[in-house]
């Protein structure tokens, strides 16, 4: 893999959400994303790291540049929390088991170009999102 930038950080505390936003912003800017796309990517990262913190307690975020015909940024959010019971339901706008707006997951899907969710009850959740540099 040609990695212009990559890295990872643990998500354990509330402040890690802020740190995650900073790291992702830096990566997206360095890859040449425009200000609106940077905001989209950072916002998505904020949603997914907060989900880790709120629902799984802790986890990890990884980021790396990707290059398949086009340059892009890939973010992976992994936790060993309770898992998502019904992914289809969780992707519905307004669905929440907490006290949120239930907009985090469906909103992230709209902000990014690609999104994959893998989750196993009792084992944990892995979410991978990607954004391509617009040409």
């Amino acid at each position: 893999m040609n990695m212009l930038c990559h890295g990872e950080m643990p998500i354990d505390t509330e402040n890690d959400i802020v740190m995650a936003r900073k790291s992702v912003r830096e990566a997206a800017v360095s890859l040449g994303f425009g200000v609106t796309d940077v905001t989209r990517i950072v916002t998505a990262a904020s949603e997914l790291t907060r989900n880790i913190y709120v629902y799984a307690g802790s986890g990890i975020m990884r980021w790396q540049s990707i290059n398949e015909n086009n340059l892009g940024l890939e973010l992976v959010f992994e936790d060993h929390g309770p898992g998502i019971t019904d992914i289809t339901l969780a992707m519905e706008p307004g669905y929440t088991t907490g006290k949120g707006l239930g907009m985090g997951l469906p909103g992230t899907k709209r902000l990014m170009d690609e999104m994959e969710i893998m989750s196993e009850i009792g084992k944990g959740t892995t979410i991978c999102i990607r954004k391509w540099l617009r040409r």
């Binding site: 893999m1 040609n2 609106t36 290059n67 015909n69 617009r134 040409r135």
Partner: protein
């Protein structure tokens, strides 16, 4: 089969590649605006370079000056503009005229430009200079450089041109050959005729076997690869045929050593970077072109991992592994990293080669540098985007009011860009009101309507307000039929009515001058 003969056949593939490189080369483009009557209204540096005219001398001239006499006949020019006006876009390839009088081949895209009311306000032309691929001189030198016998044939089977290699394999001079029947130089003329007729019918033939008779009586087994070529109007005017002397290959089987030297020279003569790779991925041989594209010497390269010279070694590894598995790959894209750090985009064509017993011993790979082509495509895309941007200008029409006429079909990507620019301009100009005029939008679907509604919501978040104008009856009908709720959004049928709303929102009033006096 032997190692050498297979390596040789691949390198001949390389010379075809050279021809393709010539055909594909794109080096320039021009961007020109015309008024509705075809008079030049703007001119960029690319146009200056391609057509030779300075900005000042061309401005206001009719665009027919780009064409020479033949292309002007039959009202072709008027037809092009008419088609562009009707369909929004017209693309063609043909001869254009340089200021100096010389002709050059260009690809031209003419797009019509319309105002919010749908009136034609002009045309945008993007012309790409393809002269190199049509330039007789350049083509000639490449054809002559070829070690393969090359020949062009007219539809009636007459030879129209040959290269040096054809002269030596037939034992006849160029002047002797031109104008004679192609078929008569083969042991079975009928088979030769069927061959070129197949090309005219199918567009090409591959590895068509024939036996060529030299003037001294010697017979050469050859394989022909041929395809049609076309004139400026796209009509087929002949066949371009390349022969591969396989009797030479037979010879090579017997005289291994000699063939090795011959193969080596062929490989070295190739303009494309060639490399052979062992099953463990190590480079076993390279040619001069590979040395220059990697910026590393033969001795440095041989014995090292093929994959390490690419930005994505894993992908390079997968590529040659695929060749070992499937026998070949075509147009496999990779990015080669030069010693100086520069990256070159290449397409690889590769196939396996075998030893005397038929065992696969390695991969033979030929690269084609597509960087220049990529760059040119990128620049053209950039320029088209700028033209697109021009077609949705966000104008400040009053202190505190911006207006944007949306023209043409709104796809997701375009609406996205439009939304971002509108929002930025609202913030820049500190304008609480934005007039969005959709008079020039031909149709609206749910997706587009959704984007519009998103735009309107985003504008509201900024602290400004959208007034939607130019809602034509057809659009109003579609919106209602689609069940799209625009209530809560101020709409007006015309831009003028919208402006009044905007002024009202700003607590401004338009008063007739005389009324003013009366009031005094």
């Amino acid at each position: 089969m032997t190692t050498q003969s297979d390596a040789k056949s691949s390198s001949i593939m390389g010379s075809e590649e050279s021809f393709r490189l010539l055909v594909d080369s794109v080096t320039d483009y021009a961007i020109i605006m015309l008024d509705p009557n075809g008079h030049i209204a703007s001119w960029n540096a690319g146009a200056e370079k391609i057509f030779g005219y300075q900005y000042d001398e061309i401005l206001g001239k009719h665009y027919s000056c780009f064409y020479s006499g033949e292309s002007l006949s039959d009202g072709l020019l008027e037809k092009k503009l008419k088609l562009a006006a009707e369909n929004g876009r017209f693309e063609n390839e043909g001869w254009n005229r340089h200021k100096a009088g010389s002709r050059f081949w260009a690809n031209t895209i003419i797009s019509s430009l319309r105002d919010p009311l749908g009136n034609l306000i002009g045309f945008a032309i993007i012309a790409r200079d393809f002269s190199e691929r049509k330039s007789a001189d350049y083509a000639r030198s490449l054809i002559e450089a070829s070690l393969d016998p090359l020949v062009t044939i007219s539809p009636d089977g007459k030879i129209t041109d040959v290269n040096g290699a054809t002269e030596s394999i037939t034992g006849r001079s160029r002047t002797e050959l031109i104008g004679t029947d192609f078929c008569e130089y083969f042991t079975v003329p009928e088979q030769a005729r069927e061959g070129y007729q197949a090309v005219f019918r199918d567009g090409q033939v591959r590895d068509y076997p024939l036996e060529l008779r030299n003037v001294d009586g010697r017979v050469f087994s050859v394989l022909y690869n041929a395809s049609v070529y076309r004139d400026e109007n796209g009509a087929v005017i002949g066949v371009f045929a390349a022969a591969r002397d396989i009797s030479e290959r037979k010879l090579a089987d017997e005289a291994l050593k000699r063939a090795t030297a011959y193969t080596r020279s062929l490989i070295e003569a190739s303009l494309d970077p060639l490399v052979t790779i062992a099953p463990d991925g190590k480079i076993t041989d390279v040619n001069g072109a590979t040395e220059s594209i990697t910026g590393r010497s033969r001795s440095e390269l041989i014995g090292t991992d093929f994959s390490e010279y690419f930005t994505d070694p894993e992908k390079a590894r997968k590529g040659y592994q695929q060749v070992f598995r499937e026998g070949m790959v075509r147009d496999y894209p990779l990015e080669l990293r030069r010693a100086n750090g520069r990256v070159t985009s290449v397409l690889y064509n590769a196939s396996v080669y075998r030893d005397e017993s038929g065992e696969v011993v390695g991969v033979f790979a030929a690269a084609r540098d597509i960087t220049e082509r990529k760059l040119t495509e990128e620049r053209i895309r950039q320029q088209s985007r700028e033209i697109l941007d021009l077609s949705t200008p966000v104008m400040q029409v009053w202190q505190g009011v911006v207006a944007v006429p949306l023209i043409g079909t709104l796809d997701s990507q375009r609406t996205q860009q439009f939304m971002e620019r509108l929002l930025e301009r609202i913030v820049e100009t500190n304008s609480p009101v934005a007039l969005v005029d959709i008079m020039g939008v031909p149709t609206i679907d749910t997706q587009t309507a959704q984007h519009l509604i998103e735009t309107i919501s985003a504008v509201r978040l900024l602290g400004a307000q959208v007034v939607l104008t130019g809602v034509r009856p057809a659009i109003a009908q579609t919106l209602v039929h689609l069940g799209i709720d625009l209530s809560g959004i101020t709409t007006r049928s015309s831009l003028a009515a919208g402006l009044l709303v905007a002024l009202d929102l700003l607590k401004l009033q338009v008063v007739r001058k005389s009324d003013n006096h009366l009031g005094d």
